[in-house]
Subunit: 137 residues, 6 copies
């Protein structure tokens, strides 16, 4: 296993996502992409080179797409009727979170403002709280 | 932010990967897919239905592809010459890890044995140790 | 324009989906893929050749993925808060529809029974009714 | 089935496209993407924000790719030798239609003029006429 | 540049494909994938392990898709009206070649017989002859 | 087979790349995409139209991604431990080549200078030399 103790290594239980289903789910997948969205927006603000900005816009689009995809997978494939009963806000929360990552007004696709990226991260944190609570239960 | 204390929530710093580059990298992306590979292998062993097994083989293939992709990104985009100097085993480690996730003899694509999935996870843990050590530095 | 009168030609208004957004949405995109899912299930039942069946399982998986994707896009990108207020069943309907197209128990991915494909088509028809009603309003 | 009568609902027979083949084909798939291409061009003309325009160019590119793909599928997978005999213009029609959706001079990828999008729609309408005539036969 | 003389190195002029267009086209792209299709069919015949065969069927499907895609790109994007005039067989040749790579009766997707893969290679060789002749012109 | 003698036709042995593995590998796949990258950079320099340039940036990004992918496949799937022993520079060569095709400083993704595309082509030529030497052995 090697050089390092477990101290440094992430403690996250394996959790993720396909549709066998394999049973592995993890909101970290959405969060990582959303961190990327926000980081791209920050780099965009700090760099006026038009070619860089064109690349930033394009890459942010793809990353925000991944955010939406990972969230949709959690909403449809991980969460079950009893969860929706226990957390009645869950449908709307996912709908808002995926809209926030999209191309509508103020969405992280249509905006270059890092606050729109942060908004997505905040929604994902809320979802993540609920997700881990259901895991504990 | 909501319901839960930070205790339950993953502690991982946001870290991931595109090629703007956004500067966000995280071995968790490879690990989550590798966990899926192993979980699929276990479900395959426990279920003899031929249609289920066909789906398992197909989906494992895609997940193992993602493992390879996430590792290649780390190897090329995150790690820099000084890292390779400090960790001379790094090239070979990545080469072995991506081979272990592939279709060669004993690789996680060509094998339905969960031990081949575990082998990939072990390599990713080694890479992750080094990754987080470079982050600390 | 050519040979035929308009009689034969589909009457559907152009309606679809990207996330510019272009403003074009159409439940037909999900429906066409779901028809494919069901047709593949029927062909699977009628053909015992193992290679054919392996291909059918694989291709159905992709088509069911597209069903889910097209539905998610409608749910997040087309439908807005006032719609969800007017049709309070909409969240659950989409959640059920995408689950029905997925890999859970009885879902169209995990089942080779054309009835599971028909179930997805029925949900899409319900969604389509609501969609066109909102267009009329 | 629910709320609405059939009046409002699209009447299109299910028709589409994979390569099992499932036997389901539908020119509506190409048409919907082409409507999107044209709508994007119109929105581009109406909005001078450079970030919006960069996104529009990128998304139009993808949508035009889908147009080409759906048309190629019809040309290769749906139409058979007797069709090409009966409609000797069919090869050239498809070649022109896919070129019109592409990146050559005046093509809908390289042009931001909605007329180039309309040109693609016109070709698709011609193809659709022939398609539905062969279905009737 | 390194170790070897030019003797060993492939002599192919760079030639390929996107839709900027970059102007680079090369039938080798289709041919390489078709070689893969045929090689997979041969390996399938030589190996009765069901998991291997499932993977072979799945991977062949993807490779045959790439064959079709690369051929469609040549047909639409590289060849121009004067070419179609000079080589009146070209439309039908491409139509047959892409059908041969597809899922119809005897096509390389639906068949595990290496002869179906060879048939695709033969068509590509014909197309390649014409392609290189137009380059010389 | 048709019109032309073998003289004109490329002589390259079929060689490519999936992960069955089919056993077919060919550095030409990476090279063709890298030629495209460089050609796009040249066209970008010669054309100041902003919409053209936006498309060029976007398409180059995809092509450079393909270069990286094809190279990673060779590094992991084709080359084996004895090759790395015989060519100790191979790891670093591939790492440099994929970095040169990427988004780091001076990389072909982040630069519009055709020299960055040429740099990638030079690395691929070195790799190709070694590849064909191992084939001869
Ligand atoms: Ni999974
Ligand atoms: Ni990144
Ligand atoms: Ni749209
Ligand atoms: Ni189909
Ligand atoms: Ni090109
Ligand atoms: Ni291969």
């Amino acid at each position: 296993m090697g050089l390092l103790t477990g101290v440094l290594r992430p403690r996250l239980e394996a959790t993720a996502h396909c549709d066998l289903p394999c049973g592995v789910y993890d909101p970290a997948q959405a969060r990582i992409e959303a961190e990327s969205v926000k980081a791209i927006q920050e780099k965009y603000q700090a760099n006026e080179d038009p070619a860089f900005r064109a690349r930033a816009i394009q890459i942010k689009e793809e990353r925000a797409d991944l955010v939406k995809h990972h969230l949709w997978v959690l909403w449809t494939d991980y969460f079950k009727p009893p969860h929706f009963e226990k957390y009645p806000q869950l449908h709307e929360l996912f709908n808002k979170a995926t809209k926030a990552a999209g191309g509508g007004e103020g969405g992280a696709k249509s905006s270059m403002d890092p606050q729109s990226g942060q908004q997505v991260l905040d929604y994902i944190a809320e979802i993540s709280d609920i997700f881990w609570e259901t895991k504990k239960g």
